[in-house]
């Protein structure tokens, strides 16, 4: 429990004034209150559950991916093609977060991929608890790779660790090369960046040089793959990478 550093009757919130306050409000609480320091993360519950997921997935020898992007960047198509092409080599299961519809799940099911749908309603991201419940509905012992399709959003999912091994961020060639600069925390947290819909690059006037330069600035640690889920171009390198990742983890 919190409650360390209980200071009774202390009203000297020692304000560091280089930290600008949001808007002035009266600090002189006229009551005889006591201030209790907590200094706790508001994400600690999720972080704890995410660690638990990670341990659980590790014990199951699963490679877990958290796939994020803006709406419509091509997550579902990318996951479907990845699962199909890994085919006999590695078995893939999917957890899909979708605001309201069942479309993404239906599309994956059609391709005979084991899938669980999380209907998030108005929620803007998946969290570790949702993932743990959804994972319980999959026969994990029959899987090698678990792919989580997050909600189409580049802001909120950045804060929520799901217990994944790799965070995979998609940037499609139709959405502009400055995306990484507009969403630095998400791109910064990427382990892998997929430049998706590469077949449309020329038609969309995608400035590849600029996009890669932006990614290099923000996504320092990320492996970058340029590919098209539609034509299959570039998929080989990504699939090899995945197989290697899974190999390393199941030996380790």
């Amino acid at each position: 429990m919190g409650g360390e550093n209980v200071v009774i009757g202390d009203h000297s919130h020692d304000h560091e004034h280089d930290h600008h306050h949001e808007h002035g409000h009266d600090h002189e609480h006229a009551h005889g209150g006591k201030t209790v320091s907590l200094n706790r993360s508001l994400l600690e519950k999720n972080d704890r559950l995410a660690e638990r997921n990670r341990g659980f997935f590790k014990a199951k020898r699963l490679l877990v991916l958290n796939v994020v992007s803006s709406p419509g960047s091509g997550k579902t198509t990318f996951i479907r093609e990845t699962a199909k092409k890994l085919g006999k080599k590695l078995r893939v299961g999917v957890i899909v977060g979708d605001l309201a519809t069942d479309n993404d799940a239906a599309e994956l099911r059609k391709a005979k991929i084991p899938v669980v749908q999380i209907t998030t309603g108005t929620v803007c991201h998946l969290d570790a608890e949702m993932v743990s419940k959804a994972a319980a509905q999959l026969d994990l012992d029959k899987l090698d790779v678990l792919v989580i399709e997050n909600v189409g959003n580049l802001v909120c999912p950045a804060d929520y660790d799901l217990g994944e091994d790799l965070r995979v961020v998609l940037l499609s060639t139709t959405e502009g090369e400055d995306k990484p600069l507009k969403y630095p925390p998400m791109f910064h947290s990427a382990n892998v960046v997929i430049v998706a819909k590469n077949d449309l690059a020329a038609a969309a006037g995608f400035n590849r040089q600029q996009a890669l330069a932006n990614l290099k600035r923000i996504s320092h640690h990320a492996e970058i793959f340029e590919l098209s889920s539609k034509t299959g171009e570039g998929m080989e390198a990504w699939l090899d990478f995945l197989a290697k990742q899974r190999e390393e983890r199941s030996n380790g």
Partner: protein, 113 residues
Amino acid sequence: MHEVAIMDEAVRMAVDTAKSSGASRVLGLRLRIGTLSGVVPEAMRFAFDVVCRGTMAEGASLEIESVPASCWCAQCRKEFECADLLNECPRCLNVSGELRRGRELEIASVELE
């Protein structure tokens, strides 16, 4: 945006603290929010009123301390303030990748009665 969920967690922690220390009411919460945390302080304030309703924190004040982002320059071994992750170190002009502050989403303290 998940401000409501974040705020709900903050109020839950405040109320738990109040209960475990035998307080009767939560008078105020102080949060620490990094400028790159992805949550919008205005939306936090809005969520606060909704989330507090009917709890021990109803009517409590909310103070938000905004934490500017800062990066670590490995070359100079110093922190420098940065608006996002792209800024270069003012001393050596290297772009640093290591964010030291700016992603905080914390409850700093509560004021109890």
